[in-house]
Symmetry: C2
Subunit: 374 residues, 2 copies
Amino acid sequence: MKTNKFKFEVLKECKQSGARITRFTTPHGVIETPVFMPVGTQATVKAVSPEELKETNSQIILSNTYHLYLRPGHQLVEKMGGLHKFMNWDRPILTDSGGFQVFSLSDLRKIKEEGVYFSSHLDGSKHLFSPEKVIEIEQALGADIMMQFDVCSPYPCDYRAAKENMERTLRWLDRCYNAWTNENQALFGIVQGNMYKDLRRESAIATASYTDCPGIAIGGLSVGEPKPLMYEILDDLMPVMPKDKPRYLMGVGSPDCLVEGFTRGIDMMDCVLPTRIARNGTVMTSSGKVVIRNAQYKDDPRPLDEECDCYACRNYSRAYIRHLMNAGEIMGARLASIHNIRFLHKLTEDLKKAIWEDRSLDFKNEFMKKYGYN
Amino acid sequence: MKTNKFKFEVLKECKQSGARITRFTTPHGVIETPVFMPVGTQATVKAVSPEELKETNSQIILSNTYHLYLRPGHQLVEKMGGLHKFMNWDRPILTDSGGFQVFSLSDLRKIKEEGVYFSSHLDGSKHLFSPEKVIEIEQALGADIMMQFDVCSPYPCDYRAAKENMERTLRWLDRCYNAWTNENQALFGIVQGNMYKDLRRESAIATASYTDCPGIAIGGLSVGEPKPLMYEILDDLMPVMPKDKPRYLMGVGSPDCLVEGFTRGIDMMDCVLPTRIARNGTVMTSSGKVVIRNAQYKDDPRPLDEECDCYACRNYSRAYIRHLMNAGEIMGARLASIHNIRFLHKLTEDLKKAIWEDRSLDFKNEFMKKYGYN
């Protein structure tokens, strides 16, 4: 037994969909799922303070191992007391493994059995990420949840390559598992297999066999494939995913994907979307996206979303936020980011209520219609 | 009597210096002076929220008429309920007159008796600011304190031009005074006269003759002249400045200038300095400036200033803020801006304590030494 610091309970399963309400206990507190996790790539959720994140009801945030390793360096973070103290966030944190980032470097990386050789996007310096090295980095960072180092396949990808990457991911899980020594951190394995159902199932069963891992993730989706294909893969995969631990769908978090994922039994999701589009002036509202820079909002006294309870919506008009965006003011990025994060949390909370009432599919249909999805 | 909505009381005069503690009552609350006023050029103090400003103990903020007139437009602000509501700031606001901004446009403006013709720095469109137009704009914005439209002289400036600009400023004060109709707003005249003591005194006496104006300002200093010259001008000018209203030194607010100004009997000062240098990674501390990007702060676990009580200093290390700055994260600008604003307020509060104790000059000497000024 690698750790007994994590606990997981399923409180409810929706009779309509199998969507779950669960409690996942970590050393930095309890996470109630379904949960959306905002992303703080460089040890800060862009433009938003920890206190503001708490006010949006953020329970856990994600940070990126690849970025923190390069700058400011995992050893520096460790010396400063770990990631929680460094960034002033006392609730749970999840660190990814850098697998997706080094995979995305394309020209700058070479994948071998021992690990991935890559050049820094900051200064071109050469590095090797091996499963052991990544766990060393993640343990120095000290997040509650560490992701295994994995190999992501692109879309499209031929069967042989997808199989090789999936199998290598399993071998790397074993090496990560052996390198994992800190009982205050949970290791999550990652299911790969691209868009091949048999590979996904094989990967899920093998990954689940690491029963000491307090959670399990699905990686390599939302990599360019059509959304219906992603949902098809999930539909086929979920029956073989373990029920006794949190199930995390990585890097997926648009409003429709959140609802589609959670109603399929996913418990955790993350995405940079809410903060990224916010900085460009796009906000999500209960009746669809609003591009706040548009002239039509010039003298609009309404909040971004009349159904929202966030700081931005309680205190500012669309006209003001549009002005801030057009004037290049940081406060515009702050307000839109807070709003978008709160929007995804509120959507998740509303879905949770529907799960308690065994009507999560009705909720999904109502939401999709109102938001403007087909 | 143009207004009876403003009240002014002098609570204390320091026996060492003549520095004052006063209370200035406005429609949006009481301002205790000496006071430093942060600048929110485009209806937002860059990177800082109204709640954060309040936590730093900001009593009043300044906003810029020139910028708001061009974008989003004073009529829009008025339609949205005025500047206070638009930007969610319920404490006093002061608007400048745009005089300094159009003066700074150099190639893009022509000064005539009727007003200043200028081209927008945003789109080149042509505009005229006259005293009447500026008061119309300032009344639409609805700040508690409106500055008169004035003509600033450059440094150096020959006597004749300085005299002409000073006299025109007086004629424009008269036109502003006649255009002023809102009793919930105070008009402040502006003393000009460049570096000529006789012109300054003449201007002060004539400006003070508008006894209905609830305050009076000194403009056209800190325009490139050596600091000792500015202090000399102030020393000569202050004895003829009225004692029964707040005295505002415009656009001046470095730590040394604050202390020098307040100990000469100035009550109000403003400057973009704290937020501007913050965004570049420079912070003010009780022992001098710190350029936080410097490598020496890489693993410095201390707060920006160990004597500071601000949000940034209570929760974050120099190492973390340096990381944010190097990574180009908005949170870095936020934290450094909050700190620098709080630093100037705390400096002012400490000076105030010294004024109560009749030891403001001792305080000045101690501060200058500790901060590293000669």
